[in-house]
């Protein structure tokens, strides 16, 4: 079996913008995800970072099958999810589960924890016979660090961090190989955030999971990810190992993004290379021609407006970077 558990080829999602009530006609499209290629290897964590509106959540929804791609192919363990149907597709989906951002709204307040964590078995009854489910749910609760005796409690009886653990237990129920975490810790306080991150890492070691970890917090992603993809306006602008992205970023957007993250060390105040971008992210309904970042880029020249830079390895960039003028710039460390 190949080592690649998940692959996205040229994945596109456009949301149509329509006009008129009875006779709707399409006047454009929000190009939320516009041609993304990704590979996830067994046992690795792929971080996806980007600001709001860059399409990272739409990408996540497509990967788990909550959204149908406009075009492009998605392979889960070699299966093309768009081509296979029925039972085969359900088996594919079983292998990729989602942990959602908000632990307050992603759990049904009227269901007990046991019902929530056991619900995946209702959808995929072939996985486990009914009489064995309750014991399995308790085992899952124990695995994520919750008291198995609390199986009959309701979500409101738990704190935010504990609720996120319930969400993780639910994602683990069907023994998936891939877990997709969409901003799993951004709603939590720092002291609780660390507990959940440690739990995710522990589970990966024990169960050999592959993670796609979507977040806007770059420090958290650095901590947990092996490889990182940086998204801007529906496209990946730079992808590489955690070290390549954080130590040797070559795309100007990555550099700006990294330099904007405050480092919790007052001694470094004013010593870091800070790039303050001007303006806002353009609308994904009408992205700029050529390079999408050029409207905010300090390096932009004529070629950037005419020719879209490919995401490729370049002379000055050891890892794929979508910039005509890619070059390494250390923005993370203090300058001395």
């Amino acid at each position: 079996m190949s080592d690649i558990v998940l692959e996205a080829r040229d994945l596109v999602k456009h949301f149509p913008l329509t006009q008129g009530i009875l006779f709707k006609r399409q006047i454009g499209a929000v190009r939320a995800v516009d041609g993304i290629n990704l590979q996830l290897r067994r046992g690795e964590t792929l971080g996806i970072v980007g600001e709001s509106g860059c399409g990272k959540s739409t990408l996540a929804r497509m990967l788990v099958g909550l959204e149908t791609p406009t075009s492009g192919d998605l392979f889960v363990q070699g299966r093309n999810m768009a081509k296979v149907g029925g039972a085969e597709r359900r088996r594919g989906r079983r292998n990729i589960q989602l942990v959602m951002q908000d632990p307050y709204t992603s759990l049904n307040p009227r269901m007990t924890v046991g019902d929530i964590v056991g619900e995946p078995f209702e959808v995929h009854p072939e996985v486990l016979a009914k009489p064995k489910r309750r014991a399995r749910v308790q085992e899952l609760l124990d695995l994520v660090g919750l008291n198995p005796d609390h199986i009959n409690r309701y979500p409101h009886q738990f704190s935010g961090g504990q609720r996120q653990r319930i969400g993780i237990a639910r994602a683990l129920a069907l023994n998936p190989e891939i877990i997709l975490c969409d901003e799993p810790v951004s709603a939590l306080d720092v002291s609780i955030q660390a507990q959940v991150i440690n739990l995710l890492e522990k589970l990966q070691d024990e169960l050999g999971l592959s993670y796609i970890f979507i977040a806007h917090d770059l420090s958290v992603v650095r901590h947990i990810a092996d490889r990182v993809a940086v998204m801007y306006l529906g496209r990946v602008v730079e992808i590489g190992t955690e070290d390549q992205i954080y130590e040797n970023p070559t795309h100007p957007y990555t550099q700006a993004l990294l330099s904007a993250v405050p480092v919790p060390d007052p001694k470094l105040r004013g010593l870091r290379d800070q790039i303050v971008l001007t303006g806002d992210v353009p609308s994904p309904a009408n992205p700029p021609s050529g390079c999408r970042f050029r409207t905010r880029c300090w390096k932009a020249q004529e070629i950037c407006a005419q020719q879209e830079p490919a995401l490729a390895v370049r002379q000055s960039s050891a890892h794929p970077s979508a910039c005509h003028f890619a070059e390494v710039r250390d923005v993370v460390h203090a300058q001395r």
């Binding site: 306080d189 720092v190 660390a194 060390d265 303050v276 806002d280």
Partner: protein
């Protein structure tokens, strides 16, 4: 600044121009709920000098926002009640003022920026109208004059094409631009103290950097005191001069910014610092603080942090609450064992 308002402010009882712009002493706030009394703030002390940035750092439910609301006098009451302490603006105890006097202080002398700019702005009025309202109500200006001032303010916070945008509604602005409008509104009447309650939490990092540098610049120009309420230790390290760390309604450590990051002397501060992943370092396992913050209706005896603390001993589990020990000049920690914590690297 028009003089008529200053005349009225001079009439505040006990106003002393040489006193500190903001001093909070032993502030206590409680919420009377159906489930009992939640003691949100239990004796908070701090002061703020002109031009200084003080960060109030803490996690959700530690009482940091309630403290800010009490200072502004915008606490929801009921259920919230200030039950004790003093909040002094230049020597005047704001808690003893009549509401009409307090309204003069609010926005004129002490102003506030909120976290969620979209819900803090009124969606049915233009941005220009809302900005101008301050000048009409507090300065008695005409509509036309107030509009001119509104455009000036938008220029001040670097909103491009201010003349056109002044006639737009809040939903037509992006998140960062809305936060700029909030800053413009807070600065309209030239306050001496600005309270910023999580001003950048809802924003993306690149926008956060823009807003923080704008705030720093305006603060420097006007020599304002800035009270920054946040949970983000990164932002604090970048902008604060002094830090007060809050836990369960109390300040548990107070220190200048460099010293607190170098040698935290309270186990909670130390735990917080150890639990954040850092951008410039690839870490191993994060050392998380075990357990959960206490319910404010049921704060543990003795030190509120004791059930989660690895230094805790019997003395910590008994009343009285540990006092603020003097750790160094201008540094204090509410931990019986601050010496051990500080020495422990």
């Amino acid at each position: 600044m028009s003089t008529d308002v200053n005349v009225k402010l001079d009439a505040l009882p006990g106003l002393d121009a040489d006193a500190l712009p903001l001093e909070v002493k032993n502030l206590q706030v409680e919420f009377r709920t159906r489930n009992g009394i939640a003691r949100a703030v239990n004796g908070v002390n701090f002061s703020l000098r002109a031009g200084e940035t003080r960060a109030i750092l803490g996690e959700s439910g530690c009482g940091k926002s309630v403290t800010a609301q009490a200072i502004m006098g915008i606490l929801d009451s009921p259920p919230g009640f200030v039950t004790g302490g003093e909040i002094r603006y230049r020597g005047v105890d704001l808690l003893k003022l009549r509401e009409a006097q307090r309204r003069k202080v609010r926005a004129n002398r002490i102003a506030m920026i909120f976290q969620d700019a979209l819900s803090a702005l009124n969606p049915v009025f233009t941005v220009g109208f809302q900005l101008g309202e301050l000048f009409r109500k507090h300065r008695g200006m005409s509509r036309a004059d107030s509009k001119v001032r509104a455009v000036e303010l938008l220029d001040l916070v670097k909103i491009p094409a201010a003349k056109q945008r002044v006639n737009e509604y809040p939903h037509q602005f992006s998140g960062g631009m809305r936060q700029r409008v909030m800053i413009a509104m807070a600065l309209a009447l030239d306050p001496e103290v600005l309270i910023a309650d999580e001003p950048t939490t809802a924003l993306d990092v690149t926008v956060q950097a823009q807003i923080m540098s704008l705030l720093a610049e305006l603060q420097r120009e006007r020599n304002m005191g800035l009270l920054l309420i946040t949970h983000d230790m990164g932002v604090v390290a970048d902008v604060a001069d002094q830090i007060s760390v809050m836990y369960a309604g109390r300040v548990i450590e107070e220190a200048p910014v460099r010293e607190i990051y170098e040698s935290p002397s309270h186990p909670y501060t130390k735990g917080l610092l150890e639990s954040i992943p850092r951008l410039d370092l690839k870490g191993q396992e994060l050392s998380a603080i075990k357990g959960l913050p206490p319910l404010l209706t049921d704060i543990p005896k003795g030190c509120a942090f004791n059930p989660r603390c690895r230094y805790a001993q019997d003395a910590c589990r008994r009343d009285p609450v540990p006092p603020l020990y003097q750790v160094a000049p201008s540094r204090s920690s509410a931990c019986h064992f601050w010496k051990e914590v500080k020495a422990d690297v």
